[in-house]
């Protein structure tokens, strides 16, 4: 649509952008306040950041969260990539569609349902709630998104590449490790980062399966926020904001590199033909 945006349109989106960002700016601004409430800014100070860094409990929770995010992302990337290969190699169309719709169940279900059903599941298995139940849940709900990010790369890969490898005498294992995996690698990396953000963002599922001893940042923020305002949370918000900026940056860097390499690859393919 070539149409230029009208002046009213521009004013409108400026207002909506302001509304989208005011809460975030407000939140981070007060992390620098000397006071103790999120009203009446009382001069610049870094004391809430100091409190945050000296809070041993918070540090442990932070490390837990990162550990869960990294471990679950590695596992879900491996299983999700295998799933993508399984879906890609499905012989019948019907088989592929069944797998894909089962795959999307966890993506569309409300978080409470995922949380509640996992809670029943772990209790039925007599698995104690804590680190392992949270880790398994995170792996479980990250797998479908990894699959959805890897599958398009597999589908766009020309079958002639694997056929050529086979004809030249590569074993299936060699074809996988030398041809397929390098080709789909950008999708795998994108899936890995998406899985990390899913894990860091999750509250509801973790809240259900976490039990008493183990906590992640989201759950901690919830229980503190229920008790009222503490500017330490604002300081935490400031740090998490920078963290998510870095993640967004890395993710988009990968994405643009992906499209750049896809462009190059397609030129190569055209040349081959």
């Amino acid at each position: 649509m070539n149409d230029k945006a009208s002046r009213t349109g521009k004013i409108y989106i400026t207002i909506v952008f302001l509304l989208l960002y005011i809460p975030i700016v407000y939140l981070i601004l007060y992390s620098f306040s000397k006071g103790t409430t999120m009203t009446n800014f009382q001069g610049f100070s870094l004391k809430h950041y100091g409190e945050l860094f000296n809070d041993k409990r918070m540090l442990a929770i932070f490390l837990n969260t990162i550990l869960i995010a990294l471990l679950s992302s590695v596992c879900s990337t491996i299983i999700g990539t295998m799933g993508a290969l399984a879906v890609h190699n499905a012989k019948r169309r019907h088989e592929r569609e069944t797998l894909l719709s089962l795959n999307s169940i966890l993506l569309v279900s409300p978080d409470v349902i995922i949380g509640a059903s996992f809670l029943i599941f772990f209790t039925a298995l007599k698995l104690p709630l804590g680190f392992w139940s949270v880790l398994l849940s995170h792996i479980a709900f990250e797998i479908p998104i990894v699959l959805l990010l890897v599958l398009p790369r597999l589908d766009e890969m020309s079958p002639s590449m694997t056929n050529a490898a086979m004809d030249l005498g590569a074993s299936p294992a060699q074809t996988l490790s030398k041809i397929i995996l390098p080709y789909i690698q950008p999708g795998i990396i994108a899936g890995f980062f998406m899985a990390i953000t899913y894990s860091l963002d999750d509250f509801a599922v973790t809240f259900f399966v976490t039990g008493n001893g183990f906590t992640t940042l989201s759950v901690e923020i919830y229980s503190r926020a229920r008790q009222g305002i503490s500017l330490e949370i604002n300081a935490l918000a400031g740090i998490m904001f920078i963290f998510s900026l870095i993640l967004v940056g890395v993710y988009y860097w990968i994405e643009t590199r992906n499209t750049a390499t896809t462009g190059k690859k397609s030129i190569v393919e055209v040349g081959d033909r």
Binding site: I24, M38, L102, F121, A237
Partner: protein
């Protein structure tokens, strides 16, 4: 081709499907037929469909989710329309996506400050001569915050379907004498229906179950299906009743999916 290796990829993934997709759903349906003393019974469903509290709660949470979705569409559609016409639209849409990467609880927490009695919103009200209001812990604040959180998720699919429209359609409608308004209502909006529908799907279903928002922002006044599930599972430990409400949630999810899915499938094959 690689028959022997297929099983190798298949096993972990199918195992995951069986353990974490099929088994949990089966278990939640199974549990919904048990009462608090672990006896098989239909009483949970009887209670759900005969008690006034559960029925009003269901009606309320559908109404809340409907209002949240409606507000999100009303704000997002013009937003997506204007952004799709901007010069650096990729950059602007990135700015829409950015807030979704910030933890939902932090955003909710920001509103506890913004809407509090001495918060920014009330300061603004007083500036215009309106007396300070108690906004926190009301239904209106819950809907406002939920809509705030969902707006980016609504803008994205609408924006994508807008950028898919080829210029030639717009020009054709102009050339044939349609006014700007007619082009919008007869060409652009019908052509972006798939985007609106997937937006509804993405926003409506989670809005039925935002228990953390109703707890933090709605106080204990706003009780949705999600809040009830959380309460039955984690507070009163009546898992049977919680599962029954969960099954109702799953069914409403399926209904929403069916209502919003028909068109998209047909489009993909064309």
């Amino acid at each position: 081709m690689k028959r022997n290796y297929r099983g190798l990829f298949f096993t972990p993934y199918v195992l995951w499907l069986a353990m974490f997709v099929i088994a949990p759903v089966a278990l939640i349906i199974y549990y919904s037929f048990f009462n608090i003393h672990h006896h098989f019974t239909f009483a949970n469903y009887q209670e759900f469909f005969s008690s006034g509290t559960y029925l009003t709660m269901t009606a309320n949470s559908v109404l809340y989710a409907f209002l949240i979705t409606l507000f999100a569409i009303l704000i997002s559609y013009p937003m997506a329309l204007v952004i799709s016409k901007l010069k650096h639209r990729d950059l602007w849409i990135l700015l829409v996506i950015l807030p979704t990467w910030i933890n939902l609880l932090l955003k909710a927490y920001a509103f506890i400050g913004l809407l509090s009695h001495d918060g920014l919103v009330n300061d603004l009200f007083q500036f215009f001569g309106i007396p300070a209001q108690h906004m926190l812990f009301t239904d209106a604040s819950f809907i406002l915050v939920a809509a705030y959180i969902q707006i980016p998720f609504m803008i994205l699919p609408i924006y994508n379907s807008l950028t898919d429209i080829s210029d030639s359609y717009i020009r054709a409608s102009r050339d044939l004498g349609a006014t700007k308004w007619q082009t919008l209502t007869k060409v652009i909006i019908p052509m972006t229906m798939p985007g609106i529908k997937s937006g509804i799907q993405i926003v409506f279903i989670p809005s039925l179950s935002l228990f953390m928002l109703s707890r933090l922002i709605g106080g204990n006044k706003v009780i949705t299906l999600g809040t009830a599930v959380e309460e039955h599972f984690l507070t009163t430990m009546n898992w049977g009743m919680g599962s029954t409400i969960g099954v109702v949630l799953i069914i409403s999810m399926v209904i929403v999916m069916l209502l919003t899915n028909t068109k998209r499938k047909r489009r993909r094959t064309s």
